[in-house]
Amino acid sequence: MTARTAPRQVILLLVMLTALCAAVTAASSVGAVDIVFGLPLALFIPGASLIWAVDPWGLAVKGPERIMWSFASSIGIVILGGLLLNLTGGLTRQHWLILSSAVVAITAVAGWLRSGDRVGGEPARAPSGEEEPARWVTTLSLRSVALLVAAVLVVSGVFVLSERTNTESNREHFVQAWILPQPTGNVFSTTAQLGVRNEEGDTEVLLIRVKVGSSGTSSRTVDLRDGQEWTRQVSRNPGQPVSATVAMASRPSSILDRVDLAKPS
């Protein structure tokens, strides 16, 4: 029962890998670490563990088909497991880690028990009529490796090219302005939020003019970095109109945006 058969070695490896990934992911707050250790935990290990539990000796699926089933099973486990989590504690990060670990633990026990009757590291002969399990053996020549590396490098380079041309061509230059009664939807509110966001792609000095009711216009300039937002609460009488314009401080006559709160009719 405790013999280290070949499947048991793989199952043990999967359990250790799961423990490592779950522990590191749970403790980590570094993005790259979460990705490296989290992705296999969600998309590969639970399925691989299930496959090794169901078919420890590779009689039914083998080679690349086994890897395909591992990915697919993991996705299936997560989807059906998500339905289960919805009925219990919810789809939280903690529960996902527990689910993945629990699936691996349960399937590992099942796989361990199912692979115990063939000791010595060699699978027994398949039942008559069934196909003998085949090993996925391959050798890689230096030339093959070089060609594959070239293909990967080429694809990576092109991906960077696509990323850059996509970013450059889609870049728009504009300034957002908004004014909303506070609370939103209350047209008779006594305060309003005025906001401006710079999407020009560079730091800009913006001239903001505000007029409340029939009073005079107040102006101020703000320096905003690209992507930076500026907001201000504006007081008014209930339902009093408020209007604002935004322009570049360098070109005050060229209005970029115009917003207003109208008097309710």
């Binding site: 697919a72 919805n86 908004w178 339902g239 945006d257």
Partner: protein, 631 residues
């Protein structure tokens, strides 16, 4: 089908060795000495083909005229390289066949990634983003989706994506691309192993995977962040498990039956149409096995069918209660009545649909119409010999090409519906066509029995490669994205993938953060869809009249009241450009007939309506709040 195909390919492989130094290896024989065979060369060739497409995309972003030509060169190379390899090579290693089945979906997904490396671009994707956002925010499923109610009721894609987001802290976009990328690759591999299980010839299996990759929606639509993308591989996995079940006995068969049901369950909770397609295929297998000798029948097949069908019915009646109302307009469209899909939006602005696109599309369909009956007839003839329900069912299932053809020609939005149907119909069609083409190309020619020169079948192989290229070009021409968005580029009004830019994405992000959830929004269809899906606002149809007048009338006021419109989102570009898809609104009474853009007054009129506030402005998009206007 099994018998005929195997005999055909076995004939083809009985090629005498004509060179001592270049021993012929039978199809599928693993030879450790040969390693990956020519996979690295094919991989490099296909990588170069994707580069050509990527350079075309880069040129299109700069509005270069040569971009379109380069795009087609790259696409033709992408399909011709694996096809020529599979048809011209005298022997194929199992690793080479598998390598092509793997490389094809990888390469095609790369093209999608090159098109938009950092952002979803298809309107429907945003609907599923909202479901994923809601799951991440509430940690529970089945909350209301303001844009697409059924999205929340088939949460398979969003569950796995939100799990990846939760565990890795990646964004929904990146996580979604990883998930859909894996699903896309799984489709190619599942089909390869399915064909390998049914026919047993790696060459045919790989060629079927390449033919399936010519499906009109394969490169883009079936790889988008939409629920069908994750359901498709599980449909194929269920079929693969069924094949293994039928070929096995006893406990092993029972186990594969359980796998088929489990895969079916994932399909059922992921996508409605895909689950119906699975039930349809299982039903076909059950029916055709009645025509087989009694020993070839499997009692487990009807059991799997009943269980999967029960899951579909149970899910649709108990959980996915919005399915019927979602499907009905599509059925109306199928029957020729105007449905949810804008009628013939591929047509674009009147008279702008390139005729050459239609020619290629019909040429590819014609090829399938010719090839399919040949394969179906072979499958029917082989039913009394070494056949089973799956091989016969897939052989006869390929005849669904004629149903797709009828839909294409006769229904309200034939091109769109036929394209979507082909994602399912091409499963059996690709298998049958691959068998027929390989049979013809690899058939031992009549004549002397003493040997076949290396390229005796060269002519047939070239013809086979050309057939595959026509299928691919026709699939792309008739598929998704439509011609006006086939290559990326500057913003265009009503152009699906080309109608997403920083202006509307940032405006939508502002709306999601600042506006109350569920408010009614009126706008052009694409802007409204984005505000509904990413901005969490309610989606309303039949709002064209609000924008087709140049003054705010009593009828407009009534429309606003009846539709509970709170915000009007006016994108000034609808007054500057004609709609690429032929319509601004859904539905649009002037669809396909616009000769000039809308008048500026059609959106500027809201500035002068008493009580209407102009709450947002970015120079291009203005949002009006109608809460203070008289009702």
């Amino acid at each position: 089908m099994t018998a005929s195909v195997e005999s055909a390919t076995l004939e083809a492989e009985e090629v005498p060795v004509d060179s001592v130094t270049d021993a012929v290896v039978d199809d599928g024989t693993d030879s450790p000495q040969r390693g990956l065979g020519r996979v690295p060369e094919v991989a490099l060739g296909m990588a170069v083909a994707t580069i050509i497409v990527a350079v075309a995309f880069a040129g299109a972003r700069s509005s270069k005229s040569w971009a379109t030509y380069l795009f087609w060169v790259g696409q033709v190379a992408l399909y011709a390289i694996p096809a020529a390899f599979l048809l011209l090579r005298r022997s194929i290693l199992r690793a080479e066949a598998f390598g092509i089945a793997l490389l094809m979906p990888v390469a095609t997904f790369l093209i999608l990634a090159y098109y938009s490396p950092d952002q979803f671009r298809f309107i429907d994707e945003f609907q599923h983003v909202q479901t994923a956002q809601t799951i991440l925010a509430t940690h529970h499923l089945f909350h209301t989706n303001t844009s697409l109610a059924v999205s929340a009721q088939y949460p398979g894609l969003e569950i796995i994506t939100s799990a990846v987001v939760a565990i890795t802290h990646l964004s929904i976009t990146t996580s979604g691309m990883i998930v859909t990328g894996i699903a896309h690759v799984l489709v190619g591999l599942c089909l390869y192993f399915l064909v390998l299980e049914v026919i047993g010839r790696p060459r045919i299996a790989a060629f079927a995977a390449v033919i399936y990759a010519t499906a009109p929606h394969y490169q883009f639509f079936d790889s988008y962040f939409i629920y069908q993308t994750v359901a498709l591989p599980f449909l194929l996995l269920s079929l693969l498990a069924v094949v293994k079940m039928v070929k096995s006995k006893g406990g092993v068969a029972n186990a594969w039956g359980a796998v088929a049901i489990a895969s079916g369950a994932v399909t059922v909770v992921s996508h409605h149409i895909t689950s119906y397609a699975l039930v349809g295929l299982l039903l076909l297998f059950v029916i055709v096995q009645l025509f087989l000798p009694r020993p070839a029948r499997s009692w487990r097949l009807p059991v799997v069918l009943v269980v999967v069908a029960a899951m579909v019915v149970g899910w649709d009646l108990r959980v996915a209660t919005a399915t019927l109302s979602y499907i009905k307009p599509i059925i109306d469209s199928l029957l020729g009545r105007h449905g949810i899909l804008p009628n013939s939006h591929k047509q674009g602005v009147a008279g702008t649909l390139p005729v050459v696109d239609t020619v290629w599309e019909y040429a590819s369909t014609l090829l399938l119409v010719v090839l399919v009956p040949l394969g179906a007839w072979q499958a029917w003839k082989a039913r009394a010999r070494d056949s089973n329900a799956i091989s016969l069912g897939l052989g006869l299932g390929a005849l669904s090409i004629f149903i797709v053809l009828i839909v294409r020609v006769a229904s309200g939005d034939g091109s769109e519906l036929a394209g979507r149907a082909m994602s399912f119909a091409l499963i059996p069609i690709s298998i049958v066509c691959a068998a027929v083409i390989i049979d013809r190309v690899r058939r031992k020619p009549d004549g002397p029995k003493h040997g076949v020169p290396r390229f005796q079948n060269f002519g047939m192989a070239v013809i086979g490669t050309c057939v595959l290229v026509v299928l691919a070009v026709g699939g792309i021409a008739g598929g998704w994205p439509s011609y006006y968005a086939r290559l990326p580029g500057p913003y265009r009004v009503s152009a699906y993938e080309r109608s997403v830019d920083e202006h509307n994405l940032d405006a939508v992000a502002w709306a999601a953060a600042e506006l109350p959830r569920g408010g009614g929004v009126a706008s052009d269809d694409f802007t409204e869809s984005m505000f509904s899906s990413l901005g969490n606002q309610a989606y309303q149809r039949n709002l064209a009249d609000l924008f087709l007048t140049t003054s705010y009338t009593a009828a407009d006021r009534t429309l606003v009241k009846n539709k509970r419109i709170t915000y009007v989102v006016a994108d000034s570009r609808i007054t500057e450009q004609l709609p690429a898809a032929g319509f601004y609104f859904s539905p649009d009474p002037h669809q396909g007939n616009y000769k000039k853009p809308l008048a500026p007054a059609s959106i500027d009129k809201f500035n002068s309506v008493p009580g209407v506030s102009r709450v947002f402005d970015d120079g291009t998009i203005v949002i009006y709040d109608l809460a203070g206007a008289a009702k």
